[in-house]
Structure formats: structure tokens, C-alpha cells
């Protein structure tokens, strides 16, 4: 068994997840807490990778990252057919799962708690850091796991922008495809098992995250006197 694709997959997933968090948390805050023109448009755009064929997303990425694009012409940033391109493609495919989940979690935080923090002297940044995000953290974590799992399993867009170069851009799903093409069913079985277990474990984890301990839900509601 060649472990290279697994390691590469993990590397791509970790970087993709970091990209999702860095871009996704501010966007989720914005969508949950601010009313602005075009919010619906932004939300639709973010959700688009959920329903588009991954190859379409990959094609857009080729336009954005390929020869003649600003990234290459202005910054000299040659990222196509490297593992970096795979990470970007995976991040975009996992992004809607993360943002929508985080947005819902943030919208579920009682705004009165944020008001309370303001009257206690907190700046908006502190309100976010000390109240909103900690209270939304289960939903955010659930979104993170979902997004990461989606990134791990990404195939189509990755193939378009990073190819399937063994040892360089060939992630686990791509290696699986190769193995089947070459009738290496032993290897394919191992990879299928691995990907299935990872997906199962992460969905299991999401369930756990989304069932809040009673504690948090209970206290915002009218308290019963128990002196």
C-alpha cells in the first residue's frame, strides 16, 4: 500500500479547512448579523458549489488561476497543478457546508446576550470573540467537520485544476480512480474502506456537536425558581 495519497489528502484537507475558517467565519458573522443589500446574492453564490457539477467549479478556477489571469500575470502566482490548487478547489467545494452551518449557529445566539456584553463595556470585536463565537461553537465545529469531510472527498474540481500527478497532486479519491482503472482492486478496497470510515466518523461527530448539552439551551428561557 502506498500511503502517499493519504498523506497528501490530509495535507490538502488541513489547508483547505484553514482557508474555509479564515474566509468563512467573517462571512458567516456578516450573513447572520448584518442586513445589507445583496446579502441574498452573496448567500446564493456561496451555496452554488453545493449544486454545480464540480467540473464547472474547476473550470472557473482554471480561468481565475490559469494563464492570462490576474493571479498569474500580476502576481506571478503559478499554482495550477500543484497541491495548493487542490487545496483551493477543496476549500471552495466545502465552503458552503461550513458557512451555512456557522451562519445558522451564529444566528441562533440570543442577541440580548450580545447587548448585555455591550452594556458591560465590550467592543464589537470582544462581543464576537467572548460571546457570539463561544456560544455558536458547536454549530461552527459541526460545519467545520462537514466542510473538511467534503474537502477530503473532493474529486472533480481537483482533477480539473491539479490533475492527478502521483506523489504531487494525487489525493486519495484520485488515487482510488487510478487504482480501479489499473485493476488494482486490493489497493482500491483499502482506499474505499478508509474514505468510508473517515466520512462515517465525521458525520457521527457532527451529530454529537449538533445535539447541545441541555445546559446551554435551558438557561436563556425563563428560569424557574428553585431556592
Amino acid at each position: 500500500m502506498n500511503w502517499q495519497p493519504l498523506l497528501l489528502s490530509l495535507q490538502v484537507t488541513v489547508v483547505a479547512t484553514m482557508l474555509m475558517v479564515v474566509c468563512g467565519v467573517p462571512l458567516a458573522l456578516l450573513l447572520a448579523r448584518r442586513r445589507f443589500r445583496g446579502a441574498a446574492l452573496v448567500e446564493t453564490l456561496v451555496s452554488l458549489p453545493l449544486v454545480l457539477p464540480p467540473t464547472v467549479v474547476g473550470y472557473y478556477l482554471l480561468l481565475v488561476l490559469g494563464r492570462g489571469s490576474p493571479t498569474v500575470e500580476w502576481f506571478g502566482w503559478q499554482i495550477l497543478f500543484t497541491w495548493g490548487a487542490a487545496a483551493i478547489a477543496s476549500a471552495i467545494m466545502g465552503f458552503p457546508l461550513f458557512v451555512l452551518s456557522a451562519r445558522a449557529a451564529i444566528a441562533g445566539v440570543d442577541p440580548v446576550l450580545e447587548h448585555a456584553a455591550r452594556t458591560l463595556g465590550s467592543s464589537e470585536l470582544e462581543v464576537t470573540r467572548r460571546v457570539t463565537l463561544p456560544l455558536a461553537r458547536r454549530g461552527i465545529l459541526a460545519g467545520l467537520v462537514l466542510g473538511a469531510t467534503r474537502a477530503l472527498g473532493e474529486f472533480g474540481a481537483t482533477l480539473m485544476v491539479a490533475g492527478s500527478i502521483p506523489g504531487r497532486t494525487q489525493t486519495l479519491p484520485l488515487a482510488l480512480y487510478d487504482a480501479v482503472q489499473n485493476r488494482q482492486y486490493d489497493q482500491a478496497n483499502v482506499m474505499v474502506l478508509l474514505l468510508t470510515v473517515l466520512a462515517f466518523v465525521s458525520l457521527w461527530a457532527v451529530r454529537r456537536f449538533e445535539q447541545p448539552r441541555q445546559s446551554f439551551a435551558a438557561s436563556a428561557i425563563s428560569p424557574q425558581e428553585r431556592l
Partner: protein
């Protein structure tokens, strides 16, 4: 709304608010001066009480007007001057929210420490825990605390932010009577100690009487009357205020007997007995009886236990229908009128007509004596 005596003008005012706000379905006008005292903002739900607090705390901006605290302009919006709107976090207006708004992911200790930073943070938190009798509960989460305990944590947390004023929104509404009375006494003591302006929002008359010094009656976004509580009761500025108070049969009486068996009140010549209560002999009290609790007696039937006390004769001066029954106005021997409500089917055999004399019982157990 001008029943503010000269005593009010002499008071060194700490908060002065005069603002208005317009929404499609609601408009709010507030003009208030609050010194070092507890002002009760009283009114039915939806009358604008919480909106008023939010404006004072800086959580929403009025359309025009000015809010000043201790000589500092917190908010000013008018055509002649530059807009001032100090953000909530810089106002130092302590706000105890309805249902307390404790941070559910933090312990009591962490909640109280929330506004604090710096080296003596721990020390200050310990101090507040001790003074609010919370030391043994410091490491509990809000859901592990009773309503009264949560309330004390909320007040301690507000105090930690070193406020210049306190706003309390229905602070005791979710608590049972014994706990409420205890916390009301604590609040009075706290106000005396800190000498801050306190605005206390409630829709419960008993709460208003227990803690308030002055009362501001709010209705439909307007302040109908502001004044000492007893005055507002005795001289409602408008029928509206009387109605908001919801007490038709309100009267002032002197306590002529007070012992363990009960009170005897002298209501301008009419002796009434009431349930025992800790009230000083000779003091003037405000009391009322709900119109539903005045019982008309059948002359030919034996008296039930509950209606043997406070028997008086009344003459019917008015009778009109109301949803579900009738309203009678009866003139009592002391020349006051009392309102009686009853279901349409009761008293039918008596054939009550205007001008008739009837015997009444002002049920002893239904006579409410407000402790001030």
C-alpha cells in the same frame, strides 16, 4: 403629566432624558429626570418600557432628543447641534435584562468577571460574590442556579462594570413571592448604598409599591404621569392612569388596630378588618378591593364564613352591563362609591335596581393593603 412637586425640582438630578422615537406602528416620547432614587417605570406590556431602557443604555438611537447622565451628554440629536451617540460600552449604564441574560457558557464567577480586567480582577470578583451572597455558588453555570441566584449574579455582573446608573427590566417577575420580597429589600439597600439613579421597570403593582419611590406611568409610548407613588395613586392625572393601575376601588385608610389576628382600617368612618400584615399602628395606607370580591348578601340566607366580615350597607347608584355580567356602583355610608362586578346570573332573585339598598361584604381576605 405635571404632577411633580417642588421637591423634585430640588433633587440633584443625575439622569435627564428627553427624547422621542418613531416607528411605523409605534411612537415613544420620554421626558424623565431621575436622581439618586428608584424610579418605577410602570405600564402594561407593549407600552414602551423596554424600548425606553434600550435607548438609555445606548442599544438603540432615538430619532431626536437628548440624554444626559451626570452632566455628560450620552445622546443628542437635534437640528442645531452635532450628533452625539456614545456607544453602549462607553456609557457605564448598568442594565439587568429581563431573564438576566447571563452568559450560559460562563460560570457565575466568570460572568461577574466579564466586564473586569487587570490585576485586581480576581479580588473584585471575590468581593462581589461575597456581597451578593454567591461565594458558595461561584463555580456553577447559570443553568445550575435558581432564578433568584441568577438574578443576584446578574446584578453583581452589572455592578462589576462600575455603572453610573442601573436599569432593571422586570427583574423579579419570574420569581416567587418570598424570594421576590427578599431581593426587593436587597435592592433598596443597594440603592441606598450606591446612591445611583435606578430605573425599575415592572407591570406589577406590588413590585412598584415594594421598591419604588417615584412612579412613572407609561401607556402607548407616552409617559402619562410621573410623581411620588402615593400621589399617583391618590390623584391619577387621568382616567387613563387610573385604568392602567387597574384598581377601581382604591382608597386611603388609617390603621387603627394592628395585631397578630389582623388589621383594622378606618376608611373615613368605615371600619374594615383585613388580614394581618406588618404595618405600623396609626399609619396611612393605600388599600383596595377588586370589584369581583365585593359580595352582595341575601337577607334571608345564613352567612358563609368568608363573608362574615366587613358588612356594610350600600345604595345602588348605577348599574350597567359589562362583558360577562354587570357592574354596579354602590354608595357606602362613608359617602364613597364602590364598584361591584358580578356574573349576569348571580343575584337574579334580588332584582337589583338603582336606588335599592343592599347589604355587602367587603371580603376580609380580599382586602389588599399596600404597605406604603
Amino acid at each position: 403629566m405635571t404632577r411633580t412637586g417642588s421637591a423634585d425640582l430640588a433633587r440633584a438630578s443625575c439622569l435627564s432624558a428627553d427624547f422621542a422615537l418613531q416607528r411605523p406602528d409605534f411612537s415613544l416620547t420620554v421626558r424623565l429626570e431621575v436622581g439618586s432614587e428608584i424610579l418605577v417605570l410602570f405600564g402594561p406590556s407593549g407600552s414602551g418600557k423596554t424600548t425606553t431602557l434600550n435607548a438609555l443604555a445606548g442599544l438603540l438611537a432615538p430619532d431626536r432628543g437628548q440624554i444626559m447622565l451626570d452632566g455628560q451628554i450620552l445622546f443628542r440629536r437635534n437640528p442645531e447641534a452635532k450628533l452625539v451617540n456614545v456607544p453602549a460600552r462607553r456609557r457605564r449604564v448598568g442594565y439587568v435584562f429581563q431573564n438576566y441574560a447571563l452568559f450560559p457558557h460562563l460560570t457565575a464567577r466568570e460572568n461577574i468577571g466579564f466586564p473586569l480586567r487587570g490585576p485586581d480582577r480576581q479580588h473584585r470578583v471575590d468581593e462581589l460574590l461575597k456581597r451578593m451572597n454567591l461565594a458558595h455558588l461561584a463555580d456553577r453555570y447559570p443553568h445550575e442556579l435558581s432564578g433568584g441566584q441568577q438574578q443576584r449574579v446578574a446584578i453583581a455582573r452589572t455592578l462589576a462594570s462600575d455603572p453610573r446608573m442601573l436599569l432593571l427590566d422586570e427583574p423579579f417577575s419570574a420569581l416567587d413571592t418570598a424570594v421576590r420580597q427578599h431581593l426587593q429589600r436587597d435592592l433598596l439597600a443597594l440603592q441606598r448604598e450606591l446612591a445611583l439613579p435606578v430605573i425599575y421597570v415592572t407591570h406589577r403593582l406590588e413590585d412598584a409599591f415594594a421598591v419604588g419611590q417615584r412612579l412613572a406611568v407609561m401607556h402607548d409610548g407616552q409617559l402619562e404621569q410621573v410623581g411620588p407613588i402615593a400621589d399617583v395613586f391618590r390623584y391619577p392625572a387621568s382616567p387613563q392612569v387610573a385604568e392602567i393601575m387597574g384598581i377601581p376601588n382604591l382608597f386611603r385608610a388609617r390603621v387603627t388596630t394592628a395585631h397578630a389576628d389582623g388589621l383594622v382600617l378606618d376608611w373615613d368612618g368605615l371600619e374594615l378588618s383585613a388580614l394581618p400584615q406588618a404595618i405600623a399602628l396609626g399609619s396611612m395606607v393605600t388599600a383596595y378591593i377588586r370589584p369581583e370580591d365585593v359580595k352582595i348578601l341575601y337577607p334571608d340566607r345564613p352567612l358563609a364564613e368568608a363573608v362574615r366580615d366587613n358588612l356594610v350597607t350600600g345604595r345602588i347608584v348605577m348599574s350597567r352591563p359589562h362583558p360577562g355580567g354587570r357592574v354596579l356602583h354602590l354608595a357606602l355610608p362613608n359617602l364613597y362609591e364602590i364598584e361591584v362586578r358580578h356574573a349576569a346570573y348571580t343575584y337574579a332573585p334580588l332584582g337589583l335596581q338603582v336606588g335599592d339598598e343592599v347589604r355587602l361584604s367587603l371580603r376580609r381576605d380580599a382586602l389588599v393593603v399596600l404597605s406604603r
